[in-house]
Each structure stands twice: as structure tokens, then as C-alpha cells.
Amino acid sequence: MMLLTLIGFLLLVPPVAHLFNHDFSILGVPQVVFYLFGVWLALIIATWALTRRLEPDPDIETGEAEE
């Protein structure tokens, strides 16, 4: 979870974001727009998948271990 936040942050700030800022389009959408929404969607799906794998009522001890 924590890792997801950190990776997300790194992907959304320069210099990584700059890498995808080129002047061409995918399906008529500029690459950078496509990239930002793509990262966003990926984050949402990853969180959803991770949350499903966590115990419904996380135990306190395992909760500490996770962090």
C-alpha cells in the first residue's frame, strides 16, 4: 500500500512524467494525457486487487507488519 503511494508519486512528478511528454497521439489523445490517466487507472486497479487480498478485518499484529 505504502509502496503504491510512493510509486504513484514518482510516476506523476518529473522527471518520470517528462518521459511520456512527447508530441504524438494515441487514438487521437495526446500521449501525456493518455499516460496520466493510465497511471491513475493502474493505481486504482492495483489498490482494488491488493485490498481484496487483505483480510476483511485486518488483525492488529499483521497490520503492523504490513507497514
Binding site: G8, H18, L27, P30, V33, T47, W48, E67
Partner: protein, 902 residues
């Protein structure tokens, strides 16, 4: 075409619908039928109060003006929610355990229940949020004006009313609505199920409205591709190199802070959370909601730029595009969507702020100025509600004032970012509160204060530049002409974006002071307790805070306090349940510390932790003293622990001693049995010669006819036997005399080598008899030691003869060597005999010891080695058994050389 009257009527009808929804929601919640109210869907939708009219109108305008920047406002919260497990879960757990009601409550509770910090945070929040509320008023006003401006029915009832009047009307309406909504009763946990239901409904409305407009725009604009190609035609460049600059990072960080620290977000995400598991859904669903919200913003902005006249307000594109296309129904829906997003924000924000104001500013004042003996049952509860209503009016009028001052600026998003920067000042303190044990009250207070002052100087003040020429002049020249204090170029940092500049200075100084200050100051006892309770919230499950140790208060006093705040019914229920648990009548309930702790948390749920603490301190005599007592108790506990550790240590020592004693005892027993054996041996030894002496003397007495030769032989045998006896007795006497130190001799320098040679010579006959070969190794030549030559010779003879006597090898051999090493003269005598078993090694130098396997016919009485050791010791040397090269035993004699005795 829509008329302004129709729009206003729709808005009022919509508010009426919301009110009905909230009322029904409350009814269901009270009837405990909150199945759908309590779901994670409603929870997630209520969090989306984050998407205000800033999103609905402002984001479009922002996208039209500065491209992709608007995305950061939603990407920041996404990052926070994606990591919900890390931060939000902890916040929710802490708030549930300690009945936290707001950010101010969290910080004041964590930092030693400080009321001053609570007041500070509340004031900053109220001032900082004012621009944000102004933004909503502005959005609503502009949207109504946008509709009215294009209306062919003229301005209707709006004739003669300008922006200010309209905004005032909106603000007044909102105040009334919020008061009706949020302050009908004081709730135990500050949860407003009805309001949350209404907010969730509004979330659906605004999403649907924006998506509807978006789909419409994409449809008439020729799909995404068509719209983006329009952008290219217009020369709008999203891929500009300046997109990802300092401002991008700044807004991203600010939105991360805002989603946690904004009073209304804290309210819906943390305080209104009724089940931690709802976060699991919100973790991905809220980002998804924001994704849906923002996916159409860019197309709307681009299409608006391409078809609307150049001077139209891009903030209103969501509304003006459908109007322009003649889609009145859609335009009305869009208006409702925007209205919806504004109302939900204003309602929740003012409720959250009013809770902060009443709990942290008004309640402490009331408590200070009214003696606790006054007041009737429901008084406090009523007072609380009045305080909240007053706060709501205050907050909205502040927002309205800000709107009044800044009505000339037209963009929405920059106004919101001013608020974000103010609220972000809490973020470092909040993180420190729940993750850093050493963060201290003084540091946090200073850090937040300085951060706020810097914000006011670099961010808030410049936004008011149109208010007076003095401010504008200040911006250009700095105060009193000091150029390095210019609000937008502090310390000569010029050329930065004003927002990035303000955020950089205020937040970095804030963090710096917080960190350094915490390291330099020592937190108080209460702070330490609270720090542990907050930071270790997942380590200890539901540990009650016990700041009041000895209940000097009676149940009556406590009930009185509880009744004032909670009302008679809830106070009664609380006391009855406590009485039932302890099995006594409510009247004679003994207030245990646990109960007082529970009562404090209940009160905290209504009036905040600091106020609850103050109130109970008044009743429970000497709250601070109790705390000292507690620390003392902790010290006592520490002493007991130390004492126990000492006891343990002592008992370990005792165990060791006992073990040693046991060993000694075993040795004694061994010696004792040896001694018995020796005595019988001595008796035997003495008896054998005595028997022969007696029998030979009897023969001599009785027989007169013995040949002289025979008689002579008998007499000589008697003589020999007597000599043997004498020798044995001499040895015993010698040893005991040596041991008691009675037998002494003069230690004089003697040649040890000479004594060794003499001993070898004496033993020559013995060796020959046994057929034992002697190998003389290295010799030391003339070496002088302190001692007695005869005694030394006796020791050598004893050891050599032992080696001979106990050797049963087929080819008995012996090695003798002498060296000088390290100032000592060393003689080693070893053989290839059976050696000495490990068990016997300790015993061989004991008196009366005889080789266990050695049979009685070996002669000696088992005193030889004991005597030898005594003699060597008397010469300041040592005699020991060592591990030699040969298979048998190896004895080493070590004597100090003359002149080098040290």
C-alpha cells in the same frame, strides 16, 4: 431559454429535496435501520464532497487556462487513498478510540490535550477556509448570472440585484439551510447520518450532471479524437515543457495535504466513518470517482475554447456550452450539478468548522466563566447548539467578506489553492502526531503559527491586492521598502510561481521548526502519554486513557457534569450501564478510574478532548495532581521491577553457591571414603609388620633350641619390620607437620640440577629392577633455586619412583627434562604408563590418595605426592599434572630461579 426565476426556483426545490432526504436519513439512523446509510458506497460517495464547484466549474476553467494542471488536485488524493492502509486507517482507528471530532481536536488531544493548540488550529482553519467558501459563493453566483445573462426573459426577480446581493442571498440561504441541517442535536460521536445521506445523493447528482455534459460535448465535438484535433488546430499545447514544473509538484503536494486536513474531509473520512472496513472500498472507489469526474473536463474545456467567444468565462463552460447549443434541460441539470457540489461543500465545511469553533473556542470560554455549580440539565447541550449556529453564521460571513473583497478576480481554482495552502500547514503536525513520538506541543504550536503567518504574508495578502493600493504597493516594494520581504519574492527568491513560492516557504519553515523544535524541547508527562497512545494505536487494543487516577469525585458530581453536556437521557443511560456492569445501584456507583476515562471520552465526543479534560478536572479534584500521582505510581512500578530483578539476580547467585557447595560436598565425601580406605590401609600396613614382629618374637621367646643363624635372621626381620613401621609413621607425621607449617627449613640457594641428578642416581637401582629405560632430554645445567637440597631431592625421588611403580607397560620408559623458561626452572617427568584418569586428576594431590587401580602391594601409604606438593609450595614453586607428549602421566615442577622471583 431558461429564466433566472426558474433556475432559482429549481435550486430551492432541490434544497427542499435534500432536506427531506436528510430528515429521512436521520429518522432511519435513529431507528437503527441504517443498512444502506451504513454502507461503504454511501461512505465513498460522501467523501466525494471533495469535488466541489471548484471541480465542476473551476477545473474546466483551470484546464482551459493552464492545461493539465487541474489533474494534480485529483491525483494527490488518489495517492492518499491508494495508501489508505498506511495513513487513513490509522487516523480512523485513533479517532474512534479517542472520540476525535476534528483536526483541531486530534492535534490538541495528541499534544497534551492543549486547549491553546486547539484554538490556534481552529482559528487558522476558519481564516484559511474563508477563500474556499467564497469560491463556492462565487461559483453559484456566477452560474446564476450566466443563466440569467443569456435569458430572453430578462433578469426576472434578479432585476436590480448585483453579484454581491446575490452572493449575500446565497450565503444567507446556505447558513439557514446548514443550521437546519447540521445542528438540530448534538451527537455522541459527531456523526450526522442524515447529512451524509444528503451528501451522498449530491455526489451522484454532480457526477451524473458532469458526465452528461461531457458526453454531450464529446458527441457534438466529434469524439475524443475530434476534440483533441481541435485543440491542435487552436494551438493549445498540453505537452508543453512547463506542465511538469514546480507548480505541478506544489499543487500535487497541497492536494495530498488537503484531502486529509480539510475540515470537511476529516469530518467525512474520519469522523463520520462508522466502520473501518469501509475504507477498503473507498481506497479504490474514491479515486475511481475522481477519475470519472475528471475524464470529461479536458474535452469540455477544449470544446469551450473552440466554440465560445473569446471573452467568455471558461469557468462556466459546463453551463454555457449546453445553453449555447439550446439544450435547456441539460443546462438546468448542469446547473443543479454545480449547485449540488457547492451546497454539499458549504454544508459540510461549515458543520465541521462550527464543531471546531464551538468545541475549542466557545466551550472553553463558557467553562472558564461559568462555575460548575450552575446550569440546569440540558443547559450545556443547548449552549453547544447555539454556539454551533453562531459559528456557522460567522464562517459563512467570513467567506462572504472574502468574496466581497476579491470579486474582481475571475478564476476559481487559484482561490481554492489559497485555502489548500493554509490547510496544508496542519499536515506536518498531523503526520508527526500519529507517527512521531517525540513531536512536542511547543514545536507544533510554533511551527503551525509560523507556517500560518508565512501563508498570510505570501499567499493570502497578495490575493487581496485589488482591495487597496497599499497592498499592491507592498507587493511591488516590500514593507517599508525592504525588498527581501516582498510577499511574492521572499529572501530574494524571485521568478517563481507565486503559489509554489508561498507553499515552499511556509511548508519548509513549518517542517523545519517542527523537527528542530521537537528535538530541542521535552514533552510534558501528559504529552508523552498521549503520544504513546496515538503512535502505538495498533499495538494496544482499546487501551483506555487513565489520566484521573484516584476518583476523589462522587458519582453525583460526575453525573451532574455528564448531564450538563450529554443531556439527562444519555447521561442516565451511561451511568446505569456502568452500574449494571459493576452490579450496584446507580446511586451508589463508585467512580473507578476506568469509568471516569470512559466518561471523558464520551464528553470528548461532544465537546472535544481538551474541554472534556478541563471539565472533568474541575470535578475530579486535582486532575494534575492525579497525573503526578500516576507518574509516581509508574516510578513505583519501576522500582518493583528493579527489586524483582535484584531478587532474581540474588537467587541466581544462591543457586550457583548451592551448586558449588554440592560439588564441595561430593569432593568431601570422596575424600572421606578415601580416608576410610587409607585408615584400613594404614591398619593393614601397620598390622602386617606388627604380626610378623609379634610372631617372630614369640618364636624367639618360646624356642630356646634355635640355631644362632636362624635366631639372627629372625631378629633382623623384626628389625626391618620395625623400620618399615617407623618410616610409615614418620611420613604421616612429616605431612601433618608440613601442613600445619610446623616443619620448616631455611630456604637457601641450591643447585636444582644437582638435586635432580642425585634423585636419578638414587632411583637407578629401582629402575634397573623394573627394567625401565630413562631418556634424559634437554638439561638446564647449573640452576640456582631457593630451597632445601634434600627436600627437593625427596620430591624428585617421589615422582620418579611413582612413575616406576605405577607403570605396567611391556617396555616401561620414562622421559626426564629440565629447562629454564620465563624466570622459572621447570622439570618435567613423564612416562608411558596408564596415566591418570580424569576423575582422579583432582584427587591425586590429596592426602591418603592411592591410585585406585593401584593395588596394595605398591608400597607407599599414598602420602608421597601430598608431601611433595607441600614441599614445592614451601619453596614458592608449583607441582602439577599436565598434558605431556607421552601417553602416561606428566608431572611438572616449576620453581622460581634465584634473584628473579616475581
Amino acid at each position: 431559454m431558461l429564466s433566472a426565476d426558474l433556475v432559482i426556483a429549481t435550486a430551492i426545490a432541490y434544497v427542499g429535496l435534500l432536506f427531506v432526504l436528510a430528515y429521512l436519513g436521520d429518522r432511519r439512523a435513529r431507528a437503527n435501520k441504517k443498512i444502506w446509510l451504513n454502507s461503504s458506497t454511501v461512505y465513498t460517495l460522501s467523501i466525494s464532497v471533495y469535488c466541489t464547484s471548484w471541480t465542476f466549474y473551476g477545473a474546466v476553467g483551470n484546464a482551459a487556462r493552464s492545461g493539465l494542471e487541474f489533474l494534480t488536485i485529483y491525483l494527490g488524493p488518489t495517492l492518499v487513498f491508494v495508501g489508505w492502509y498506511f495513513l487513513l486507517r490509522r487516523l480512523v482507528r485513533i479517532s474512534h478510540l479517542y472520540r476525535i471530532t476534528s483536526v483541531a481536536d486530534l492535534l490538541s488531544s495528541r499534544f497534551g490535550k492543549s486547549s491553546r493548540l486547539g484554538v490556534l488550529v481552529t482559528c487558522i482553519a476558519v481564516v484559511g477556509i474563508a477563500p474556499y467558501i467564497a469560491l463556492q459563493l462565487k461559483a453559484v453566483t456566477s452560474s446564476i448570472q450566466a443563466v440569467a445573462g443569456t435569458s430572453e426573459f430578462g433578469r426576472g426577480s434578479l432585476e436590480g440585484i448585483d453579484d454581491v446581493g446575490l452572493a449575500f442571498g446565497v450565503a444567507a440561504g446556505m447558513a439557514l439551510f446548514t443550521i437546519l441541517f447540521g445542528t438540530r442535536h448534538v451527537d455522541a460521536k459527531e456523526q450526522h447520518h442524515g447529512v451524509v445521506a444528503a451528501i451522498a445523493f449530491e455526489a451522484v447528482v454532480k457526477l451524473a450532471a458532469l458526465v452528461a455534459v461531457g458526453v454531450f460535448v464529446v458527441y457534438i465535438g466529434g469524439g475524443f479524437e475530434g476534440i483533441f484535433s481541435r485543440a491542435a488546430d487552436l494551438g493549445i499545447d498540453f505537452a508543453s515543457s512547463t506542465t511538469f514544473d514546480a507548480r505541478w509538484i506544489t499543487t500535487l503536494v497541497l492536494s495530498i495535504a488537503a484531502i486529509v486536513c480539510l475540515p470537511r474531509q476529516f469530518q467525512v473520512t474520519v469522523v463520520e466513518n462508522s466502520n473501518e472496513n469501509h475504507l477498503r472500498v473507498a481506497g479504490w472507489a474514491f479515486p475511481a470517482y475522481m477519475l470519472l469526474m475528471s475524464i470529461f473536463i479536458l474535452p469540455i474545456a477544449i470544446y469551450g475554447l473552440s466554440v465560445m467567444p473569446a471573452n467568455s468565462n471558461p469557468d462556466m463552460f459546463a453551463l454555457t456550452l449546453p445553453l449555447n447549443a439550446g439544450q435547456n434541460g441539460l443546462a438546468l441539470f448542469a446547473f443543479i450539478g454545480g449547485f449540488s457540489s457547492a451546497t454539499s461543500m458549504i454544508i459540510l465545511e461549515s458543520i465541521a468548522l462550527s464543531i471546531m469553533v464551538s468545541n475549542h473556542i466557545i466551550m472553553p470560554l463558557v467553562l472558564r466563566f461559568t462555575p460548575s455549580s450552575q446550569g440546569d440539565g440540558q443547559g450545556m447541550s443547548k449552549m453547544l447548539l447555539v454556539a454551533r449556529r453562531f459559528s456557522i453564521v460567522l464562517i459563512l460571513s467570513l467567506g462572504f467578506s472574502y468574496f466581497l473583497f476579491t470579486r474582481d478576480s475571475d478564476a476559481l481554482a487559484p482561490i481554492g489553492l489559497i485555502s489548500f495552502t493554509a490547510i496544508a500547514q496542519f499536515f506536518p503536525a498531523l503526520l508527526a502526531a500519529i507517527f512521531w513520538r517525540d513531536a512536542s506541543l511547543k514545536a507544533v504550536t510554533t511551527a503551525v503559527t509560523v507556517g500560518f503567518i508565512l501563508w498570510a504574508w505570501t499567499c493570502f495578502l497578495p490575493s487581496l491586492d485589488s482591495l487597496s493600493p497599499a497592498i499592491a504597493a507592498l507587493l511591488v516594494e516590500g514593507p517599508w521598502g525592504i525588498s527581501w520581504l516582498r510577499p511574492q519574492a521572499m529572501f530574494g527568491l524571485e521568478g517563481w510561481d507565486p503559489l509554489a513560492h508561498a507553499a515552499f516557504w511556509s511548508l519548509s519553515v513549518n517542517v523545519l521548526i517542527l523537527t528542530l523544535g521537537s528535538l530541542l524541547t521535552t514533552p510534558s508527562a501528559l504529552e508523552r502519554i498521549q503520544a504513546t497512545a496515538f503512535v502505538d494505536v495498533f499495538r494496544r487494543r482499546g487501551m483506555p486513557q487513565r489520566n484521573f487516577v484516584r476518583g476523589s469525585a462522587t458519582a453525583n458530581d460526575l453525573f451532574f457534569v455528564a448531564e450538563r453536556v450529554l443531556g439527562e437521557k444519555r447521561a442516565g443511560a451511561l451511568f446505569e450501564s456502568a452500574a449494571r456492569e459493576s452490579g450496584v445501584e446507580p446511586a451508589v456507583l463508585d467512580p473507578t478510574p476506568e469509568f471516569i476515562g470512559r466518561l471523558e471520552r464520551e464528553l470528548a465526543g461532544s465537546i472535544g478532548a481538551a474541554s472534556a479534560h478541563v471539565m472533568l478536572s474541575k470535578v475530579v479534584a486535582g486532575g494534575d495532581v492525579s497525573l503526578e500521582e500516576m507518574m509516581q505510581m509508574a516510578d513505583e512500578a519501576q522500582q518493583v521491577i528493579e527489586y524483582t530483578q535484584q531478587l532474581e539476580k540474588t537467587s541466581t547467585e544462591l543457586r550457583l553457591t548451592a551448586k558449588k557447595l554440592e560439588d564441595a560436598n561430593a569432593q568431601l565425601r570422596e575424600l572421606d571414603s578415601q580416608k576410610d580406605e587409607f585408615l584400613s590401609q594404614v591398619s593393614h600396613e601397620v598390622r602386617t609388620p606388627m604380626t610378623s614382629i609379634r610372631s617372630f618374637s614369640e618364636i624367639l621367646l618360646d624356642s630356646d633350641d634355635l640355631a644362632p643363624a636362624q635366631r639372627r635372621r629372625f631378629v633382623s626381620t623384626i628389625h626391618q619390620e620395625s623400620l618399615r613401621l617407623t618410616k610409615l609413621l614418620d611420613e604421616i607425621l612429616d605431612l601433618s607437620a608440613l601442613e600445619r607449617g610446623e616443619r620448616s627449613w631455611q630456604n637457601v640457594p641450591v643447585d636444582a640440577e644437582e638435586a635432580l641428578d642425585r634423585a636419578l642416581l638414587v632411583c637407578d637401582a629401582l629402575l634397573r629392577q623394573k627394567g625401565m629405560s630413562v631418556e634424559v632430554g634437554e638439561r638446564a645445567h647449573v640452576t640456582m633455586v631457593e630451597g632445601d637440597a634434600d627436600r627437593l631431592c625427596q620430591v624428585f625421588i617421589n615422582i620418579i619412583s611413582n612413575a616406576v611403580k605405577y607403570n605396567d607397560a611391556d617396555e616401561p620408559r620414562m622421559w626426564v627434562s629440565s629447562t629454564v623458561r620465563g624466570g622459572s626452572y621447570i622439570v618435567e617427568v613423564s612416562d608411558n604408563g596408564p596415566g591418570i584418569s580424569k576423575r582422579d586428576r583432582k584427587l591425586i594431590f590429596e592426602k591418603f590418595w592411592r591410585g585406585v587401580e593401584g593395588s596394595g602391594d605398591q608400597g607407599g601409604a599414598g602420602l608421597g605426592l601430598a608431601i611433595s606438593r607441600q614441599i614445592v609450595a614451601r619453596m614458592n614453586g608449583s607441582l602439577e599434572l599436565v598434558q605431556g607428549a607421552a601417553p602416561g602421566a606428566c608431572f611438572r615442577i616449576r620453581l622460581p630461579i634465584v634473584g628473579k622471583r616475581n
